[in-house]
């Protein structure tokens, strides 16, 4: 077993062009971001967005006033009813809309779905969470809702401060996270390379493996193990380079970041493996397909233009829940924002699930196979 893993690693790692695309390229990209975006840490200016507001609750209103007056995050434009406000959002006289029933809602237009509104969304979200906690406590044991308790929870001021102060530099950090997502997505090439050897109609080595008495699932597991080791290594190198050479801050949840990276890479590798098993024809065709799919999924996940992400989330929400690129980037974003922990977990579980599904599809296709032609 150990021998096999070593051989597999050797076989994969000697492919220099694969090592370039899956390791060197994301590092180069991160380096490029570093050169291009260093300036942004210092020179960025903060602009506020015009936001329509339909809020009657005085507590919420004072919170919004604080966002406007102290942090210049928003410029409020009050509306008496939601219909009018929505119309304003439609004709783009406001960039976003904040409404309140039992919690605060943020609606944005597609054109203004920028990082600014993401920050705002995050701020409002954390406000809602705290509000909910107080309400729950009131319902179960009102005596415990002391001013001190409320103070401890409604620490919104703190949150807002930290975000407003560092948001320009953190927005830069997001670009670096994109390179990690890219590293994960390129792992599909490893899967593709491995899968080829198991198929008699794709490589003559496949003939030997297929006539051998070793079960397919063992061979597949061995492949996955080798890919995982290589990918973990690549991820470690990439993260170390960013942390120690580029000095990119990783926030408070590096463990979660690494876990997402590892699972994301495995998922993507399994996708490549499955594509290799399902798509016959020559290698160039599959590499082109995989690159294309990678770019397309990244595009849908909003890696190139964030508006696309919201379009997908609005009109085809299922897609963003099964798109590996979206799952990976969303998680990185939430980890960076330090929010949505339950969604992060949900995404991780979906990713594991998809990995298993892809592996099963590949296995079913290869198990006890006889070919129509070789």
């Amino acid at each position: 077993m150990k021998n096999w893993l070593t051989y597999r690693l050797k076989i994969l790692l000697k492919d220099k062009s694969l090592v370039f695309w899956t390791l060197v390229f994301p590092i180069l990209l991160a380096t490029f971001f570093n050169l291009a975006l260093r300036g942004a840490y210092t020179n960025a200016t903060v602009s506020s967005s015009t936001v329509g507001v339909v809020v009657s609750d005085p507590t919420v209103q004072s919170f919004l006033d604080m966002l406007e007056d102290e942090y210049h995050l928003i410029e409020q434009k009050p509306f008496s009813n939601e219909k009018e406000a929505l119309a304003a959002l439609e004709n783009q006289s406001v960039e976003a809309l904040i409404t309140y029933d039992s919690s605060i809602h943020l609606s944005v237009t597609q054109s203004s779905s920028n990082a600014q509104s993401l920050i705002l969304r995050n701020v409002l979200q954390s406000y809602n969470v705290r509000l909910n906690l107080i309400q729950e406590q009131l319902e179960s044991d009102p005596t415990k809702v002391t001013p001190a308790f409320i103070d401890s929870l409604v620490n919104v001021k703190m949150t807002v401060t930290s975000i407003a102060d560092s948001r320009t530099s953190e927005l830069v950090v997001i670009n670096f996270y994109t390179t990690i997502a890219m590293l994960c997505i390129y792992a599909s090439f490893w899967g593709n390379k491995s899968g080829r050897y198991l198929q008699a109609d794709m490589s003559s080595i496949g003939i030997r493996l297929n006539v051998s008495p070793t079960h397919k699932w063992k061979l597949i597991l061995m492949d996955i193990a080798a890919i995982f080791v290589i990918f973990a290594l690549e991820l470690a190198i990439h993260l170390s380079y960013m942390a120690f050479v580029l000095q990119v801050p990783f926030g408070n949840y590096p463990g979660l970041l690494i876990l997402t990276g590892l699972i994301g890479g495995l998922l993507s590798a399994m996708m490549g493996y499955m594509v290799c098993v399902m798509v016959k024809g020559n290698e160039v065709k599959r590499i082109t397909l995989l690159s294309g799919v990678g770019v397309f999924l990244s595009f849908l996940s909003g890696m190139m233009a964030v508006q696309i992400k919201y379009l997908v989330e609005t009109y085809l929400p299922v897609l963003s829940k099964i798109n590996p690129a979206a799952l990976i980037t969303d998680n990185f974003y939430w980890i960076f924002m330090e929010s949505h922990f339950s969604l992060i977990l949900e995404n991780l579980l979906i990713m594991v699930g998809l990995t298993i599904v892809f592996a099963m599809i590949a296995y079913r296709r290869m198990r006890r196979v006889t070919y129509d032609h070789l």
Partner: protein, 311 residues
């Protein structure tokens, strides 16, 4: 016991039958030569018997049991040397053999010994750390063989293992196959070189257009030939009248005359040589050279199919 039994095998690619109601039985201990020109269906037959290819009709039994993709107990005892070299470019000679042997032999110590045996068998001792791309064509073929036989299988399929191998290495490989056979392996050997097949095979099946067209020992196959032998004479003295006279003689099956070369195919009898010498000396015809040849499998093949075995 029959090691391999193929009955009425049909494999079609669309309307084209690559293997057409083909039968083949190999008994334990045999070296069976499957001889056929390019495209006759040898590799296709092998791929079917290994359960790599689906086929339309027929049955295949190995060691008395039906061969299926999940017949792992049967697969354990099969060795395959595919027509196209199948080794990892990234692994060296030793690692390649060890990798493929490891698919069959789990015990590390045993495997180590087996790998050594295989390396010695193909004579690659001095190249164990070479990568495939550093090996010459012939050495690469030898590695291909080593990867297929290292686990000491009971039944070994060689699909044209000597293509692009020089005569010396080829001889070594052929002798090696005989050794494998002596140590207990049953062998299916395909080729389109009849000399090879004549040299090592105990029985020969000739295949063309997916069909079996002849079967037997090399002697019995040669007996299929319509003529006994061919006598080739170089002479400047033979006249055209004398050639016509010669053609009419009873022992002559067929004669060709391209001055100064005379070829006489004798009827199936032993006296041809003497009778021809008698004929020449009676007429005081001098000759530069005189030799006789027995028919080759190629001649047999030519007669049966009307085409050459080799391109």
């Amino acid at each position: 016991m029959s090691v391999l039994e193929i009955k009425d095998l049909v494999k079609r690619y669309g309307d084209f039958s690559a293997v057409d109601h083909f039968n083949l039985t190999i008994q334990e201990g045999e070296i069976l030569g499957l001889l056929g020109p390019n495209g006759s269906g040898k590799t296709t037959t092998i791929n079917c018997l290994l359960s790599l290819l689906t086929y339309e009709f027929g049955s295949i039994h190995l060691f008395g049991k039906p061969m299926k993709p999940d017949a792992y107990d049967l697969k354990q005892h099969i060795g395959i040397v595919p027509q196209n070299v199948a080794v990892f470019e990234e692994l060296n000679v030793n690692e390649n053999i060890d990798y493929f042997c490891g698919l069959y032999v789990k015990d590390k110590a045993t495997r180590k010994a087996y790998v050594q045996d295989a390396i010695a068998f193909v004579g690659l001792e001095e190249f164990t750390t070479f990568l495939p791309k550093q090996l010459s064509g012939g050495l690469l073929r030898r590695l291909n063989i080593a990867c297929g036989i290292a686990h000491k299988p009971k039944f070994i399929v060689f699909d044209e293992p000597t293509v692009a191998v020089d005569p010396q290495s080829r001889n070594r490989i052929l002798e090696g196959i005989k050794d494998l056979n002596r140590s207990g392996s049953t062998i299916l050997y395909t080729s389109h070189y009849m000399e090879e097949v004549e040299q090592i095979c105990s029985r020969i099946v000739i295949m063309d257009n997916g069909k079996q067209i002849a079967e037997g020992t090399k002697e019995s196959l040669k007996a299929l030939s319509q003529f006994g032998e061919v006598i080739k004479v170089e002479t400047h003295d033979l006249s055209d009248e004398q050639f016509l006279e010669l053609q009419a003689l009873p022992f002559v099956f067929k004669a060709e005359w391209n001055r100064p070369f005379l070829s006489v195919y004798t009827q199936n009898e032993k006296q041809g040589l003497l009778q021809l010498m008698q004929f020449l000396s009676d007429r005081s015809i001098d000759y530069v050279s005189f030799r006789n040849e027995v028919p080759t499998l190629n001649d047999v093949f030519l007669e049966i199919t009307g085409k050459q075995l080799r391109d």
